[in-house]
C-alpha cells in the first residue's frame, strides 16, 4: 500500500503569501494576521516547553539514586513546581488552541481572519507579559508550592517568589479568556457560505468546546489566585485557617477551573486526531455528530467533577460520593470518541504517514490514561493511590501521551500548510516511534511505582524502587531525543524541505483548498462549501484513485 501519494513534480510556492507579504520585526510584532500570531505563539510555547523540559530533566536525573544527590530537597520542590507551572499554564493550555487553533480556525471555516484580530494580538502580548512575571519568579528564588498553589503554604509559609508567579498566571488567564472569546465569536459569525454547523471540521468543534471552558472557567482561577495573592501580600485570611479562613475553599475554587483545564489540554488534541484519522484512513469519519456532541459534553460535564481531587482533604463523604459518580460520567463521551475513531479505521485504506503514527499512538496512550483515570475517580481506590506516582503517570499519559502527541502530530499534519514545505518523512516516522517508546518507558514504570506506594513530590525514595526509577529516567532521555529530532528537522525543512503544494495528503478540509503557505487574506475568493465533511468517497477533485469497492478478504478457509 503506498504510504504518501506521489507528488506531481513542479509544485511552486505561491509568489506572495503570508510569510513574505511584509518583512521586518515590526511586521511580526504588530501583525494582526492570525497565521502570524499563531507562529508567534509557536515560538513562545516552544520556549516554555524547553524551560519546563529542563526542569523535568533535572527531576529525572535527581531521582536516579534513592538518596537523590543532584539537588537539595528545597530545590527539588522548586523543580517540580516550576516544571508544572511552565508546562501547564504556558505550554499545554495555549499550545493547540493558540498555535494550531489560531492558524486553522479561520482557514477551516473559510474566513479572512478571526473576528477580532487586534484582540488576538493583544492576547499574545498578555501571554508574554504573564510569562515574564513567571520567569521573573523562577529567576529570583523560584517557586516551591506545587503548581496547585495550595494555601496556606502559598499564602503564608512559602519563602519562594510566589507573588510574581501568581501575578503572572493571573495575567496569563486573560490571554486564555480573550482567545476563547475570539474563537467562539469567529465560529459563530465568520463561517463561509455553505459552512453549516454540521459541516464544520471536528477540530473546530473541539476548539469551540475548549473555548467554552476558557470563557467560563478561567475567570474563576483568576479571582482565586488574586485572593491568594492578596492574602500573601496583605496578610488577609480568606484561605488561612489561623485567621478564620478555609483552605478547602481554595481547593474548591482552584479545581473548579483546574480540572476543566485538563479538558482544555486534551479536547483540542482530540480535535486534531479527528482530522488525521479520516485523512489517512481515506474514509468519512464514523459518527460525526457523536464526536462533535461528545466534545461539547466533555466541556460541560468536565465542570461537574472537580472535587475528585479533594477526596482526602476533608470534604464531606456525601459530596465525595457524588463527585466520584459524576467523574465516571466523563468517561462516556471520551469513550464515544475512541470507539468512533477505531470504527473509522475499520476497513479503511490506511497509510502510516507520520501524523497517522501520532494519531494511533494517541489513541493507545489516551486509552491507558483515561482508564487509569477511572481508578482514581473510584472513591475507595483513590485513598490507596492518591498523591502517588500512579497519579503522576495517569496525568502524564493524558497530557503528554494525549495532548502533546496530538500537538506534535497536528504540527506535522499542518506543517506543509504552515510553511509550504514537507518535512523529511523517514526521520519524522523515526521520531514518532522514538517518542512513543521513550514516553512509555518513562511513565509506565511510574504506574507500578505509585501502586507500590511511592508518593509524588518526594525528593528521595526507598532503595527497592530504584530499578523502576532508573527505567523511567532512561525513558526520559529517549523522550528528550524524540522531542529534539522534530525541532531540528522541522526547522531544517522550513528552508530545505520539498515544496508541498496545496494538498499533499490529500485531505478534505477547506484549509487545503488554498495555497501553501496561504495568502494573507487566506482565500482568493470567499469559498462556498457544498460538500459534506470528510467525504473521501465523493471528492474527485482530491485526485485520489477511484475508491475500489471494498473487496472482502479472500477466504482462507478459516472463517
Amino acid at each position: 500500500m503506498s504510504t504518501t501519494p506521489p507528488k506531481p513534480p513542479g509544485y511552486q510556492l505561491p509568489e506572495e503569501h503570508y510569510l513574505n507579504a511584509t518583512y521586518g520585526i515590526r511586521s511580526w510584532l504588530l501583525t494582526t494576521d492570525h497565521k502570524r500570531i499563531a507562529l508567534l505563539y509557536l515560538a513562545s510555547v516552544t520556549f516554555f516547553f524547553f524551560i519546563g523540559g529542563i526542569f523535568a530533566t533535572m527531576i529525572r536525573i535527581h531521582l536516579l539514586t534513592p538518596a537523590g544527590y543532584l539537588v537539595t530537597p528545597e530545590t527539588y520542590n522548586k523543580l517540580f513546581t516550576m516544571h508544572g507551572v511552565a508546562m501547564i499554564f504556558f505550554f499545554l493550555i495555549p499550545s493547540i488552541p493558540a498555535v494550531l487553533g489560531n492558524f486553522l480556525i479561520p482557514l477551516m471555516i473559510g474566513a479572512k481572519d478571526v473576528a477580532f484580530p487586534k484582540l488576538n494580538l493583544l492576547s499574545w502580548y498578555i501571554y508574554i507579559t504573564g510569562g515574564c512575571f513567571v520567569l521573573y519568579s523562577f529567576a529570583t528564588g523560584g517557586l516551591d508550592t506545587g503548581w496547585t498553589f495550595y494555601t496556606p503554604l502559598s499564602s503564608v509559609y512559602s519563602n519562594s517568589a510566589v507573588t510574581p508567579a501568581v501575578i503572572g498566571i493571573f495575567i496569563n488567564g486573560f490571554s486564555s479568556i480573550l482567545t476563547g472569546l475570539n474563537f467562539v465569536v469567529t465560529i459563530h459569525t465568520m463561517r463561509a457560505p455553505g459552512m453549516t454547523w454540521f459541516r464544520l471540521p471536528l477540530f473546530v468543534w473541539a476548539q469551540y468546546s475548549t473555548s467554552i471552558i476558557f470563557i467560563l472557567g478561567t475567570p474563576v482561577i483568576a479571582i482565586t489566585l488574586l485572593l491568594a495573592g492578596l492574602e500573601r501580600m496583605f496578610h488577609l485570611g480568606f484561605f488561612n485557617p489561623a485567621l478564620g479562613g478555609d483552605p478547602i475553599l481554595f481547593q474548591h475554587l482552584f479545581w473548579f477551573y483546574s480540572h476543566p483545564a485538563v479538558y482544555i489540554m486534551i479536547l483540542p488534541a482530540m480535535g486534531v486526531i479527528s482530522e488525521i484519522i479520516p485523512t489517512f484512513a481515506r474514509k468519512p469519519i464514523f459518527g460525526y455528530t457523536f464526536i462533535a456532541a461528545s466534545s461539547i459534553a466533555i466541556a460541560v460535564i468536565g465542570f461537574f467533577v472537580w472535587a475528585h481531587h479533594m477526596f482526602l482533604t476533608g470534604e464531606s463523604t456525601y459530596a465525595a460520593l457524588a463527585f466520584s459518580l459524576l467523574s465516571y460520567l466523563v468517561a462516556i463521551p471520551s469513550a464515544v470518541k475512541v470507539f468512533n475513531w477505531t470504527s473509522t479505521l475499520y476497513k479503511g485504506s490506511i497509510s502510516y504517514d507520520t501524523p497517522m503514527l501520532y494519531a494511533l499512538g494517541f489513541i493507545g496512550l489516551f486509552l491507558i490514561g483515561g482508564l487509569t483515570g477511572l481508578f482514581l475517580a473510584c472513591l475507595g481506590l483513590d485513598i490507596h493511590i492518591h498523591d502517588t506516582y500512579f497519579v503522576v503517570a495517569h496525568f502524564h499519559y493524558i497530557m503528554v501521551g494525549g495532548a502533546v502527541m496530538g500537538y506534535v502530530g497536528g504540527l506535522h499534519f499542518w506543517w506543509p500548510k504552515i510553511t509550504g514545505k514537507l518535512y523529511p518523512e523517514f526521520l519524522a516516522r523515526l521520531a514518532a516511534v522514538i517518542l512513543f517508546v521513550g514516553f512509555n518507558l518513562t511513565f509506565f514504570p511510574q504506574f507500578i511505582l505509585g501502586y507500590l506506594g511511592m508518593p509524588r513530590r518526594y525528593h528521595n525514595y526507598p532503595p527497592e524502587f530504584q530499578v523502576l526509577n532508573v527505567m523511567s529516567t532512561a525513558g526520559a532521555s529517549i523522550l528528550a531525543l524524540g522531542y529534539l529530532l522534530p525541532m531540528i528537522y522541522l526547522t531544517w525543512s522550513m528552508r530545505y524541505g520539498k515544496v508541498a503544494g496545496r494538498n499533499p495528503w490529500p485531505a478534505t478540509g477547506l484549509e487545503w483548498t488554498t495555497a501553501s503557505p496561504p495568502l494573507t487574506e487566506n482565500f482568493d475568493v470567499t469559498p462556498v462549501v457544498d460538500w459534506e465533511p470528510y467525504d473521501y468517497k465523493n471528492r474527485p477533485d482530491l485526485g485520489l484513485q477511484t475508491p475500489t469497492a471494498p473487496t472482502l478478504a479472500p477466504a482462507h478457509g478459516d472463517d
Binding site: H188, L216, S316, T317, A319
Partner: protein, 100 residues
Amino acid sequence: MSEHIVSPKIYILIFAALMILTITTVYAATVDLNAHFAGLNVIVALLIATCKAVLVILFFMHAYYSSKRTKLIVFAGFFWLAIMLSLTLGDYGSRSWDVH
C-alpha cells in the same frame, strides 16, 4: 439584534420598578423575618435582588428582544455560576451529616 428599539417609556417604567424594589428590600431588612422562618431575611433580600437583576438584563440590556443565542449566553453564565455555588455548598452543607 437590536433592530427592536425599546422606547423611553419602558425604560422609565423599569427604573420606577427598580426603585420600588430597592425601597422594599431596605424595608424588608429592617423587619425580623427570621422569626418566621430561619434565613428568610436573606432569601427575601436575594429574591428581590434577582428580580432587579432580571429586569435590568431583560430590558436595559435588551435580552428580552435579543436572539436565542444571546439568551443562551446569559443562561450559560448563570448556569455555570450555579454549578460552582451548588456543588461547593453541597460539600459544606453535607459535612455535618457525617456519622462518627
